[in-house]
Subunit: 274 residues, 2 copies
Amino acid sequence: MNFMQSLQQAWRGNASLVCIGLDPEPAKFPAPLRGRPDAVFEFCAALVDATADLVCAYKPQIAHFAALGAEDALARLIAHIHTRHPGVPVILDAKRGDIGSTAQHYAAEAFDRYGADAVTVNPYLGRDSLQPFLDRTDKGVIVLCRTSNAGGADFQALDCGGEPLYLRVARTVARDWNTHGNCALVVGATWPEELGKVRALVGDMPILVPGIGAQGGDVAAVLAHGRTADGTGLLVSSSRAILYAGSGADFADTARAAALALREDINHFRQTPV
Amino acid sequence: MNFMQSLQQAWRGNASLVCIGLDPEPAKFPAPLRGRPDAVFEFCAALVDATADLVCAYKPQIAHFAALGAEDALARLIAHIHTRHPGVPVILDAKRGDIGSTAQHYAAEAFDRYGADAVTVNPYLGRDSLQPFLDRTDKGVIVLCRTSNAGGADFQALDCGGEPLYLRVARTVARDWNTHGNCALVVGATWPEELGKVRALVGDMPILVPGIGAQGGDVAAVLAHGRTADGTGLLVSSSRAILYAGSGADFADTARAAALALREDINHFRQTPV
């Protein structure tokens, strides 16, 4: 089953558009895990085991592991998700982008070393820089379009011949890069109107939407502008608001409650049941 | 000594604008190293030890290490350069770019975990995404501007209000982001005229120029369009043409000869001696 099929199945099977971002920060870990040698893996795996029936995907953010030298924990975490919770796809949030020969090594890192089902990538270097990812027809290639941060407007909002750069990116991905049907886009929850413009351009292409919760994105607006006719099409990503919902021994239960609340909140605005 | 000071000193002390890209590919390693457990480190360290008086910087490309799970070799390699060849700066070629909280982890990866003196970054996510790098006043922040690959034109060449996106990036970096004087840019050797337009905008800001050699960039054109009045301002990067110049037991000597030839070729076109 390829990434797009897994995603479709998880959307429906778990009745969820929730994507949990796995951003381990040891300083925020619950007290019982602090100082344990394998705390990064234990924390993330406990979160996953408590929420795997509530999500459409997990999204480990590689910098959080790399800054700690915890590549091994990341590899074991992805293997754990695949083994214990088959069918739930894993997106490696890496935002890679480099020229062809190097891009092959980045694709090998994401897909072969870590076994991710999809990876986030940066479009600035153009199509040939992403070709080694696009060629992996079983994997998802999730291209940055309109990011959730304030600085996202610095270049993404520039007028490029009658449309802003981010719409040019969306149009290019949908029209030219998606020949294998394995592309998706990133649009921040903080820009719901832009999300609507992207949705109007790209049909049913999945859109990963970070920025709910800590960054202030609004669930109702995201769903209104971003969902497809069948009430899916989105991966609404939340990290800190779920991971660090609790800080005691019951942190996994507290995270589950937060994930459940987000799923219900989102489903309230999906309107069309699936 | 900060990155910019180290670079100035290496330009002058080694009379060189050559930056050697360290892109280890075990399949291309010389026969005596093949199959050795620490071949990645041994190969790169031998190259470094044979060329350290001929370069202005080394540029390890992180994907080549990450795809192999060789983070430890990368860390030891950078430490080796700093210990054995103090004063030669190390640029971690990582092309990172992510929103603020994650960017802090990427900055920690490059500067704290690996001890790099500079890092390449992607501008697509805007200023706040690079702020954690820009705040490290002792480190270099080398921003992608006009990349050497054919697909670089897909977005970088788009007209954004009267100038192409890559010039808008160059202008923004020079005018707004370089408050600590620690910024540089990447412009591919394959676009010498664009290099000249960037140079005209950014004064003496250093420009990292990949694409000489395997990618077909021309040394004379790069120097004519890119050098500063004092005959510096450039880091002319070459990887494969030096690393894999030889494949026998004398590979380090062969690489040294290739680096020496490139240095002389470049210096022939510097015109103004330093």
